[in-house]
């Protein structure tokens, strides 16, 4: 035999250098991998922090306390009253030195354009008048709100005199920041300080109710058929391939389908939760069928054999034994599918759920919008104050998604223990 080549001697300096190089490459590779994970987590962190920092202020709003003089005859009048002039007078009384017309208009701009309606609502609820004067906290304009939230740093569109007035109101204890209940309880509005997400939430809820009512029975039936009864044939293969491909079709294509079929052929109302629900149902159906099939497959065959052995018909075996055992898994899949449908926006744009809807929808055929669509609409609004509203609405949406996924995970854990 010839002498072993020098490269094979482990103690040689060549070999040692080579080994060092290989170990360095190993270390580098490891660091790069860890870096990739860190990068992904960092992106998530930046995303959540950005949204959180911008969104949390949306839950607070600024109010200004005014002593409003209510004319006595207004209390008895049955006609609709306009309270705005009273508010303007109340504000002017605080700053009697402002006499210029343009300055006066700027002064009135400190309170929200919707403050009159808010006042009328309080009035309808019944006020305790003290010599015809009532002291009330009323919503401030969104520019005032933004100015205060920025810590007085960026006056934005406020003029110098307006900033001065705000300072004096603050000294008098007439300005406060409160939890903005209206953000959660009212519908959309052109005025950022009055806009809320309740209308969109109800719209989302109605839409998802329609989706669930359609997709759950249909999806489970289809999964049962494919898993338990379908003969192995071309026809079944076609259905299977179809379902798998449908699951990968972009959601906007389902929006086009909804537009072409539900709106143009069947003439259903535009912007309605009914149509939104139908469209999302078509989109969720493949996902749900796949999830249901997986959990039906997970039921051990011995259950079926025992059932058949005791004389149950195939259908009885499925409905009395297999389905109850598969149900937790099916429900988990359903919740995850619903969570996806809740966050879906594109198909709803196609069927006209992007309208500016102030009223809270009351039925399945009312014009409505959904929470993600509301986020999209606000993100497009020019007013600066809607930036916070957008992120605030996202926080609410994420909260719902987290809750739904938590339920799904908890169910999966329990289910795994059972089997």
């Amino acid at each position: 035999m010839t002498e072993p080549s020098p490269g094979a001697r482990w103690a040689s300096p060549d070999m040692k250098a080579r080994l060092r190089r290989r170990h360095r490459a190993e270390r580098n590779f490891r660091v790069i991998g860890a870096g990739a994970i860190a990068l992904a987590m960092l992106s998530l962190g930046v995303l959540l922090v950005t949204i959180g920092v911008r969104g949390l202020p949306a839950f607070w709003t600024t109010e200004i306390r005014l002593d409003v003089a209510v004319p006595p005859e207004a209390l008895e009048s049955t006609e609709r009253i306009d309270a705005r002039p009273w508010l303007k007078t109340a504000l002017r009384d605080l700053f009697p030195e402002v006499s210029d017309r343009r300055e006066r208009r700027k002064l009135s701009a400190l309170i929200s354009r919707g403050a009159g309606t808010a006042f009328e609502r309080e009035l309808a609820r019944g006020l305790e008048l003290d010599e015809g004067v009532v002291s009330l906290w009323l919503p401030a304009d969104d520019e005032v709100d933004l100015f205060r939230k920025s810590g007085g740093a960026t006056p934005g569109r406020l003029s110098e005199s307006q900033v001065g007035w705000i300072g004096r109101l603050e000294q008098q204890g007439r300005v406060r920041s409160v939890f903005d209940a209206g953000f959660l309880t009212s519908g959309d509005s052109r005025e950022p300080e009055l806009a809320g997400i309740w209308g969109a939430l109800v719209g989302s809820f109605l839409t998802l109710a329609v989706t669930l009512a359609i997709v759950f029975p249909l999806g489970v039936s289809a999964a049962i058929y494919l898993e338990e009864f379908a003969p192995r044939s071309r026809w079944t293969d076609l259905i299977e391939v179809n379902i798998n491909n449908l699951a990968a079709v972009p959601s906007i294509v389902f929006g086009l389908l909804g537009l072409a079929i539900f709106l143009n052929v069947l003439d259903l109302p535009r912007s309605a939760p009914l149509v939104g629900g139908l469209t999302l149902a078509l989109m969720t159906l493949p996902t749900l069928i796949i999830a249901a099939r997986v959990s039906i497959q997970a039921v051990p065959p011995s259950i079926r054999e025992a059932g058949r052995g005791l004389g149950a018909s195939p259908l009885q075996v499925v409905f009395h034994h297999v389905l109850p055992l598969a149900m937790p898994g099916i429900l988990t899949g359903t919740i995850i599918g619903m969570a996806r449908a809740l966050g879906e926006t594109a198909p709803l744009l196609m069927i006209g759920m992007v309208a500016f809807v102030v009223d809270v929808p009351g039925s399945l055929t009312d014009a409505a919008t959904a929470l993600p669509v509301q986020i999209f609409l606000w993100a497009d609004s020019p007013e600066r104050a809607f930036v916070a509203k957008t992120s605030g609405a996202i926080l609410v949406l994420l909260l719902f998604l987290i809750a739904m996924n938590a339920v799904a995970i908890a169910m999966r854990r329990r289910f795994e223990k059972q089997l």
Binding site: A40, Y225, P250, A260, T345, L401
Partner: protein, 458 residues
């Protein structure tokens, strides 16, 4: 009587039929053994009571407007509604608006008011008739079923057979959905191609659909050359892939080969969160945070960056796809037989050498399949690009420019005021068809690749 009330009535009738069927079966026993459990006789009667009524309702919902409009037109003297189909459609629209009490365009046109009155009359009569027929059928069906209930009657067989048919129809519905997608897209696209030639659409270099608003407008023809849209889509998809593939693949590798189980249990669900964040949230993130950052960064480097740069949309889309790529790569990597891995280790290779020279080449087809699926996901993604990418179609490969994508154009063409028959709105369906065909093809190819690969090792 409205539809919810009607549904409740049918439900009550169905439940009544169930109870009666069950009781009748039990009464009929008289020492003889029933063929089926009593509940099956109830279910049999319930099916007969419920299904015909529901069929009538569905038929009414689908066919009523067509039938009523036909009858309304038939009641008019010849030519009163107009000659051409377009005129007739306009006339019917006026009648519907009049009947709904909306702003009437038919002032001075008595014929529309009369037709609307007739339309209303037909509608109310039609609903009443449909409901009456449905309830009668329900009663008749229930009665017929109850007649047949007896100890010798094999109710279970009949009921189970109808259930099986119902299950089969549910499964076949998936095909119906696909057929619906294909038919609606193809039908509208054909109408689009009647106005614009397919060659111009697929190979034209100029896209400006907005000009085609009025016939007498300057440049009213509009131009529908979709190439700039396709390149824009490819540019943004490419950027997204440049982010998602390395990060996703490397994190999958790291998770499988290096991470401790404890770290994996924490890190995996955190990455999954990225997949669960709604796309509209990524859109907001891209439009309100990332795009301004990139613009400011570019300005400080002396570059001119569009405020709706392809880079911002692509980056955020890439982040969104990371978990998708990562989980598909994970599947591909774990499918590589451990014998290969052990063999490599046995020869003295380090872990990174094993991964680079053995695992990744073996897993490549699976990873490619996952890559194709990720591309299809990126092409179809809508909200991020709608919010963060531009509207103007520009033929450029510069990631700092604003480009537009197929999905952005579909959304812009179809939201807002629209007339349904203009080439502008029909173009959205043509783009939708392209999108559908491309994603479907990618999907089919990806599944083929993955399957082929699996067969090799099993």
């Amino acid at each position: 009587m409205n539809i919810p009330l009607f549904l409740l009535t049918v439900l009550a009738l169905t439940m009544g039929a169930y109870a009666l069927g069950r009781r009748r079966a039990l009464q009929a026993v008289g020492g003889v053994r029933l063929h089926s459990l009593p509940g099956y006789y109830g279910a049999y009667a319930a099916l007969w009571a419920g299904l015909p009524a529901l069929a009538i309702l569905v038929a009414w919902l689908v066919g009523s407007s067509w039938a009523i409009e036909g009858l309304t037109l038939a009641s008019l003297p010849d030519g009163a509604a107009g000659e051409s189909p377009a005129e007739i459609a306009l006339f019917l629209n006026d009648v519907r608006n009049e009947s709904a009490g909306l702003i009437s365009r038919g002032e001075g046109r008595e014929v529309i008011v009369d037709a609307a009155a007739h339309y209303d009359w037909l509608r109310s009569r039609g609903i009443a008739a449909a409901i009456a027929v449905a309830i009668l059928l329900s009663l008749a069906g229930g009665g017929f079923a109850l007649q047949r209930v007896g100890p010798g009657f094999a109710a279970r067989v009949v009921v189970e057979r109808s259930f099986r048919i119902g299950l089969m129809i549910s499964a076949a519905l998936a095909i119906l959905v696909t057929a619906g997608i294909v038919l609606s897209l193809v039908f509208e696209t054909a109408r689009f191609f009647a106005a614009v030639s397919p060659m111009e659409f697929l190979f034209g270099l100029h896209w400006s659909p907005q000009t085609a608003l009025r016939a007498d407008q300057v440049g009213s023809s509009g131009s529908f050359g979709a190439v700039p849209i396709f390149t824009g889509t490819l540019l943004i998809t490419g950027i997204a892939m440049l982010v998602a593939v390395p990060v996703g693949l490397l994190s999958a590798v790291h998770m499988t080969f290096y991470a401790t189980p404890r770290f994996r249990d924490v890190a995996k669900p955190i990455l999954e969160i990225l997949a669960g964040v709604p796309t509209v949230v990524y859109g907001v993130f891209a439009a309100l945070a990332v795009a301004p950052w990139i613009r400011d960064l570019g300005t400080s480097l002396g570059l001119s960056v569009a405020s709706e740069s392809a880079l911002a949309a692509g980056l955020v889309m890439g982040i969104m796809i990371i978990p998708f790529v990562s989980s598909l790569s994970d599947d591909a990597i774990t499918a590589v037989p451990t014998a290969l891995r052990d063999g490599s280790f046995g020869l003295g290779a380090t872990r990174s050498e094993t991964i680079r020279y053995v695992i990744l080449p073996a897993a490549l087809p699976g990873i490619m399949g996952g890559f194709l699926l990720a591309v299809s996901r990126a092409i179809g993604e809508t909200m991020i690009v709608v919010m963060a990418a531009g509207l103007a179609a520009r033929l450029t490969a510069n990631p700092l420019d604003a480009v537009t994508t197929v999905t952005v154009q579909i959304v812009t063409l179809l939201t807002g005021d629209q007339e349904f028959d203009s080439p502008k709105t029909l173009a959205a369906f043509a783009l939708g068809l392209v999108l559908f065909v491309v994603t479907l093809a990618l999907n089919v190819v990806a599944l083929r690749v993955v399957q082929h690969y699996r067969e090799r090792y099993d």
